[in-house]
Structure formats: C-alpha cells, structure tokens
C-alpha cells in the first residue's frame, strides 16, 4: 500500500491529520492541473477546494483501481469542467488571468508558450499537462479524463501540431 493509499484510508475514517498530509502532498498538483485547464488562479483554487472537499467526503469510495493521485486528478478534472460550464452558462467566462510578474523575468519564449496554450481548447491542454507534466501513461491519462486511450493519442496529436506551428 502506497503512502497516499494509507493516508486516504485514514481520511475515510475521518482522520484530520491524514487529510492535512494528503492535502500537502497533492494540493500543488491538483492546483496546477486545474490552472492548466482554467488558466485562472482564482478558479484553480476553487477547483482545489471543491476537489479536496469531495476527497474528504468520498474517500471511502476509492476502490484502488488506480493511483490515489490519478483518482484525485480525475475528481479535479470533473470539478474544473463543472466550473467551466457554470461560468459559460451563468456569467461571462473570466478573462484568462496570468499572475502579475516582472516582464523582464519572463522570457519571450515562455510568453509565447503561455499564449499558445491559451489558444488551445481545454481538452487538449489537459492532455498536454497530464502527459508532459504529470508523466502519466496513455492508460492513466485516459482514466483521469474518462476517455478511450485512442482519443488521448488523437488529442495529443492535435495539440502538438497546433503548438508546433506556434513555437517552432
């Protein structure tokens, strides 16, 4: 049993210190994944909170068929798309927010990368993030996104083509 599995089992028994440890281990990854999808720190933090609330409530339903982190990223993904739908339906979708940083510190290439990512649909951005940043396998990516492995490869293909045009 992995550390995350042990912590999640304790969370299912309402162990708050285990919940805090699990949060410390995974919050950054959940937040960055949500940020890659929503492109807004404010909304990404909302996804992080909703995701961890779901983890606290649903920990007992984890069946061990995937890694704990993969299971939690799947929850985050659902929360992010729920939030996207809410924003599209009820209010205007917020402008893409980038953290205010010193332009001198941000290289021209990273600005181009950010802009190219902004132009991609979220379904392609999430594949890029899970594969290139989380280093998930095809099947793990498919499991987080709830789509067939073939669709993962196809989305990756289109994302790479679009980015290659902008960045090379």
């Amino acid at each position: 049993m992995s550390i995350d599995e042990r912590l999640l089992a304790r969370v299912a028994l309402r162990d708050q210190s285990a919940f805090h440890r699990l949060y410390e281990r995974l919050a950054d990854r959940v937040y960055r994944f949500a940020l890659s999808l929503l492109r807004s720190p404010h909304l990404a933090e909302e996804v992080l909170q909703e995701t961890m609330m779901a983890v606290w409530r649903e920990a007992g339903r984890f069946e061990g068929r995937s890694k704990v982190s993969t299971w939690i990223l799947g929850i985050a993904r659902n929360q992010a798309f729920r939030l996207l739908r809410r924003e599209e339906k009820g209010r205007r979708l917020p402008e893409i927010e980038h953290e205010a940083s010193d332009p001198a510190e941000q290289s021209e290439m990273s600005v181009r990368v950010e802009r190219s990512l902004d132009a991609l649909p979220p379904q392609q951005r999430e594949v890029l993030h899970l594969v290139f940043y989380e280093n998930l396998t095809v099947n793990e990516t498919a499991s987080v996104l709830g789509i067939p492995p073939g669709t993962v490869k196809s989305r990756m293909y289109h994302a790479r083509r679009a980015l290659a045009k902008e960045l090379t």
Partner: protein
C-alpha cells in the same frame, strides 16, 4: 516493427518516460534508423521542456486555501494549553482553533471536572 505514424504517436510518452518497456524498445530501434522521426523526437522533447518550464513556474495555491477548505468542511483543529497547579490538583484547559473562533475551556479540581461559566463551547464537526 512500428511504422513512422505509430512511432510519432508514442513520442510524447517516450520522451516523458511513461511508456512500457516493449514499446520503448520499438520506438528506440525505429529512431536509430529514421531521420524524420528523430527530428520529430527532438521537437517533441523541446516542446515538453518548454511546457514543463511554464508549468513549473506557475504560482502555487495560496496559503489561505487550506484554511478556507478547513472552514468550509467545519473541521476542528485544536491547540490545547493546560495551566494550573499539580500541587493543588487544579488544572485549567484552554483550547482554540482560530483566533476568530471562540475559546473553549474546562476546569478540573482534584480530577473532578467543574463547569466553567462564561466561555462558549464549540462542537467539533465531522464533515
């Protein structure tokens, strides 16, 4: 033996090291003999590097995220301080979870709990 199309499909997972050994061997042996796919491999590796740099410099969640989550779930986080005198068998326990939350306390005299008037009690919530 994989075709060029199959190899290019696997390249993102090959450069990320998240591919089964059998497939990795097929990709590697193809790359050794195919200039076009090798060029695609370099391009994919560069793309991964650039995306990784951007993702790696993304801001972290704020420190208040945990506190807010804690508040939303109504979790109890208690720091307990005991004051008193062992000689007189007197002990005053004070617990608090947040400066803005009510302090709760109890008083024990010679092992017996004595009701304290004037403090507010906060019930711990499970979820």
């Amino acid at each position: 033996m994989m075709t060029c199309e199959q190899v290019r499909e696997w390249l993102p997972w090959y450069v990320s090291g998240s591919i089964e050994l059998a497939e990795a061997e097929h990709v590697a042996s193809h790359l050794a003999t195919c200039d076009a796919c090798r060029s695609e491999f370099v391009e994919t590796a560069q793309l991964r590097l650039r995306l990784g740099e951007v993702a790696g410099t993304a801001p972290a969640p704020t420190a208040s995220a945990w506190r807010e989550l804690h508040r939303k779930l109504g979790l109890d986080e208690t720091v307990r301080v005991d004051l008193g005198s062992a000689l007189l068998g007197l002990r005053l326990g004070i617990a608090a979870n947040d400066p803005r939350s009510p302090v709760r306390g109890d008083l024990r005299v010679c092992g017996n709990r004595v009701r304290v008037i004037g403090t507010r009690r906060q019930r711990s919530k499970g979820a």
